[in-house]
Structure formats: C-alpha cells, structure tokens
C-alpha cells in the first residue's frame, strides 16, 4: 500500500471511531420530550432515564411545603397522569392548570423526580382562583413598604 493510502485508511479509521463515539454518546444522552401517556407507555424503558415531561398541572394537586421545600404536583395530558416531586420553590407564577415541562427521571417508586421545572405559556390551562392575579402577588408588598 502506498503512503497516501495508509494516510487515507488512518483518516477513515479516526473518522469512524469518532462517529461511533459520537453516536454512542448521543444515544445515551438524548433527553426525550414525552407526555405522561407516552412516558407510561414506555413501561420499564421509561424508568430512570432523563426525560422532559410536558403537560398540564392537574388542578388541586399542587402541594408545597415552604419549610422543607418539597413540591409535589401531578402532570396530566388529559388521559394519563404522573405525580411529580421536586425539591425547591415553585416559580412565582406557578399554579393549577398551567402548562409545564419538567426535567428529571421517572423513578421506580412511580414518582417523577424533577430536577428542573419550566413553565410554559403556550398551553392552555384552567382559570386561576380569584386573588391569583399576577399583580396581586406583589402589590401588597409594595404598598406595605413604600415610604
């Protein structure tokens, strides 16, 4: 084999190795966007892998303990539901019925352990209760301390 062909072969091997590594890396590290229905349909394949779960916060399901910072709610897509648990404070505008995307893993305990919670505006959700208007959430505070 000529020197040039050797170089070509070496190049091909390097590119192939790189491609294989890349493919393997991608295969293990992609995060799927799923709805509760799609997640549950995956069965064991959906357990303990990183997932972005999209859906609506089921009305009446939100529980937040300000002291332990334990946030629990149920995400629903209208047909199936998944309970979600997160450590941290809910976003300021978080409320029943709103569209959310939660990032995390679905555990063997049947609870979705979220590491990141994103509020979505492009979904339709149910009406907030009176007194939950965005401005009401902070107006009292401004009047209270304005001097």
């Amino acid at each position: 084999m000529s020197k040039r062909n050797w170089a070509l072969l070496a190049g091909a091997v390097i590119v192939a190795t790189f491609g294989w590594l890349l493919y393997g890396g991608l295969d293990r590290n992609v995060v799927f966007f799923l709805t509760p229905k799609e997640l549950l349909a995956k069965g064991a394949g959906g357990v303990d892998v990183p997932v972005r779960l999209g859906g609506l916060v089921k009305p009446g399901s939100v529980q937040w303990n300000a002291q332990t910072l334990d946030l629990r709610f149920t995400v629903s897509d209208g047909t199936r539901e998944v309970s979600v648990q997160e450590k941290g404070a809910p976003p300021q505008m978080f409320r029943d019925g709103m569209g959310v995307v939660v990032e995390g893993r679905y555990g063997r305990d049947g609870v979705f352990h979220a590491t990141n919670l994103m509020v979505r505006h492009s979904n339709e959700y149910h009406p907030p209760k009176p007194g939950e208007r965005p401005e009401e959430m902070y107006r009292t505070l401004i009047k209270g301390s304005a001097s």
């Binding site: 709805t35 897509d77 979904n123 009406p127 907030p128």
Partner: protein, 206 residues
Amino acid sequence: MNWKRAAIAAFAAAPVIALFAWGFTRDPRDIPSPLPGRTAPPFSLEVFSSGEAPLALPVGDTVRLGSLRGRVVVLNFWASWCLACRDEHATVSAVARQYAGRPVQFVGVLYNDRVPPALDWIKEMGGQSYPSVNDPGARTAIDYGLYGVPETYFISGDGRVAYKNTGPATADVITRVVDSLIAALPAGARSTAGARSTAGGARGTP
C-alpha cells in the same frame, strides 16, 4: 479551478440544506400537547368598547363564554401597544362585519393595556366593528395560554377551542375556520341564532 471536484463538493451541501429546509416546517417550541379540541376556559369580562351596529354590545355589559354556547366565538387578543395588531385590525373588523346576522360572536380582548389608550387606539384606527372587553390582570390571557398579541382563538358551538391563530389573522383563515364551525353547528342553531346576535345574545345569565 477543478470544476469536477467543485461540483461534487457542491452536491455534498445538499443534504444539509435539505435538513434546514425541512426544519422550517417545524416549530421547536411546540411540544407534544394534548390541547387541541379542549374545552375553552370560561371567562366573564366587561365590555369597554361597544363596537358598531349591528354587532354592538352596550359598554359595561358582561360577556360570559357560558352564555355563548351554540354560537361560534372568535376571541381576538390585542393591545394598543402591539404593532401587528394594527396590521390585522382592518381585516378582522371587516370580516366580523360580514358575519353580522350569523351565529358568530367576535370579541376583542384587551391584553396588558389600559382602557383610555385602547379607546384612543380604536378611534385612531377608524373604529372596531365588534365589541371589545377588558381583561384586567391578563387573567383570561393566562387561561388561554396567550403567547403574545395578536392571537385569535376560534371556539366552536359546543365550547371547545377549535383553532388558534398566532400573529395577525388573515381574512382567509378567519372565514375558513368560522365557516367550518358554523357548518358544524346543529341545524337549528345555524338559522335561529342569527336573530339573537343583534339582540346582544352575549348578555349574561349567571
């Protein structure tokens, strides 16, 4: 120049370009969502601009979605500070006028704005044929998951969101959607509801 090699190289670009071109048919923000066809969130909002006869409703009246059952509802979210709303204004206003006497209710919903500049805006734009309601605190906008203004929601006679138009609405889209929703109304509603529209059928029962 080695044109043969150049031509081969040029073809190599084709799949990449094809991929991007395909990408345009997709909206990356659009996550799988079960929402189309869902029940439209109820609202009851106060009219601040009456609109023009025959579509007018008295200022101060409350428009309730619940009492509009059996009619097609077109909710158009707008604001006086919104540029694209200016583009679509004349169109929406004219199309709404065409549907006078049909079982359709056009409602403008003011988003994140105050009433005085909104009224000035309507005057400036040469009027608005249909009534507009105020949405203090953008509560209804949040319910509907408004992404920005203008956005137009088409609600069917049985109270479901049938279609949502983001950005300026065109006459073509409005008539196509509204016509198909009218056609889906029960036969009785199609003919009788027409009379109610001028009588302010939106005036609410609790």
